[in-house]
Symmetry: C2
Subunit: 272 residues, 2 copies
């Protein structure tokens, strides 16, 4: 008989969605209930409904502790404790699912060595889009403006190609206190390909306290509204604003919504 | 006093997620409970748990009836019946949120004229990614290969730009019974920019009966496995397969998973 290895407990890498309890999936809820250890960035652990945290080991760390979080979660599960590693949005979009696989790879452990459950969630781009109306609808690209782990020339290249091909473009991490120049450069690249009145959706803290939604033309983007909790969605050449009512019918508060039509309708018979 | 208009009831345009009840959000559940009329494509209405349909008016139509569905849903809500227009995945990604706004626009009704609630859901791309491991992680583009409403030259242009800029690329609607040539062309375009061993994730019926998951190198894509219920995720230049165990360690069943590292780690200190 082989020497027995202590059996690993399940490791859930789960998406909390934007943070509203109404957008937390039952599968994520069940994982939070089952877990005895909960690991995550402090800001996201704060999004977990309090009763899931009571009586549990909670390991929360600061913004740049991603590697440590992934390692701690793998350690806890291998040590026999059911563990939930929490991410905001979806765990596979600019989040921690990949770091967990990298951890296992670095330890020479195949993913099948532990019960690994990646529980998808509503990503920030879909949460923002739902508030804005229907800005995505068609082909779109997600690009992070953070050059912490990606060289800026590559990000610039992606922006250029995405705008050249008329994708709707969602910008993650558009601006932080210390990182302010990238958004201006991104807008300059966009304006080389797109009309100045292309609508841009600006969504801060979607479905969370402090939610703010704005729609502005690309050439008049209110940079000061944009911070690290903001996601931007820049329309394609067909995107437009459906006006609301009242004195400022183009404002979101008056009911204006951002619309990217589904296809290139002008060229086709919609009835096909 | 103004002539009273019959008040509109709420219209929920909601995402069912991939179809598993565990991935249906509480907000979508509440909307299905509140609605007395449920509208959707027959295949998606089938994903709605049966008890939500009992005693309700259910309007389900075939694949190409999108315009009729959006119009019927708007009619029902304006007529005073709380209505749920159901979409699979997220309602804003290749789905119906935009058609509802187009309907309102065509009728000269501002979106604020009815209580319109767009309820985001887990999109197909995130469901597929969760099963595959962590293929997205970084900048990605979603492209539909359906040329029903979009001219094929534009789709080809988007593929070319997305691969040139080393995006991870998710292909929606890759192939149907009558539409078979596009996927081959897309792979040819990909191979002009990417190595033949770039991993491709192939996910059919994610989180639904009939689920199938495969990982294959780009140059050996098993076209016959791909149908209209399949989503493909083509890695970027850093994507790789983390092997599982057993006789075919590169197969998904043996635990192999697809990984796109978070950043361009080789160039940077991961501890930053």
């Amino acid at each position: 008989m082989k020497a027995t290895r202590r059996a690993s407990a399940p490791l859930f890498v789960l998406g909390l969605g934007p943070g509203a309890p109404g957008l937390l999936t039952p599968e994520a809820t069940a994982a939070l209930e089952e877990a005895s250890v909960i690991v995550g960035y402090t800001g996201y652990v704060r999004l977990v409904p309090q009763h899931f945290l009571q009586g549990k080991r909670v390991l929360s760390t600061g913004m740049t502790g991603e590697l440590a979080r992934a390692a701690e979660a793998v350690d806890a599960a291998l040590g026999g404790a059911a563990t939930a590693l929490v991410c905001s949005g979806d765990p596979g979009v600019y989040a921690l699912a990949g770091l967990v696989l990298e951890q296992l790879e670095a330890r020479g452990l195949p993913p099948s060595e532990l019960p690994l459950h990646i529980v998808p969630g509503v990503p920030a781009v879909c949460a923002a889009a739902a508030l804005l109306g229907a800005p995505l609808m068609h082909d779109f690209a997600c690009i992070s403006l953070s050059d912490l782990l990606t060289p800026w020339p590559l990000i610039r290249k992606r922006l250029d190609h995405a705008f050249a091909a008329d994708f709707v473009v969602a910008l993650y991490n558009p601006r932080s206190k210390r990182r302010v120049s990238q958004l201006g450069e991104a807008v300059t690249i966009a304006l080389a390909h797109k009309a100045g009145d292309t609508p841009v959706g600006i969504v801060k803290n979607a479905f969370r306290p402090g939610q703010e939604v704005h729609i502005a033309p690309l050439r008049e983007l209110p940079f000061d509204l944009v911070d690290m909790f903001t996601l931007l969605i820049i329309g394609n050449s067909e995107s437009r604003v459906v006006p609301g009512t009242g004195n400022s019918p183009l404002s979101w508060e008056s009911g204006a919504r951002m619309l990217t039509p589904r296809g290139y309708q002008s060229k086709y018979d919609m009835g096909r």
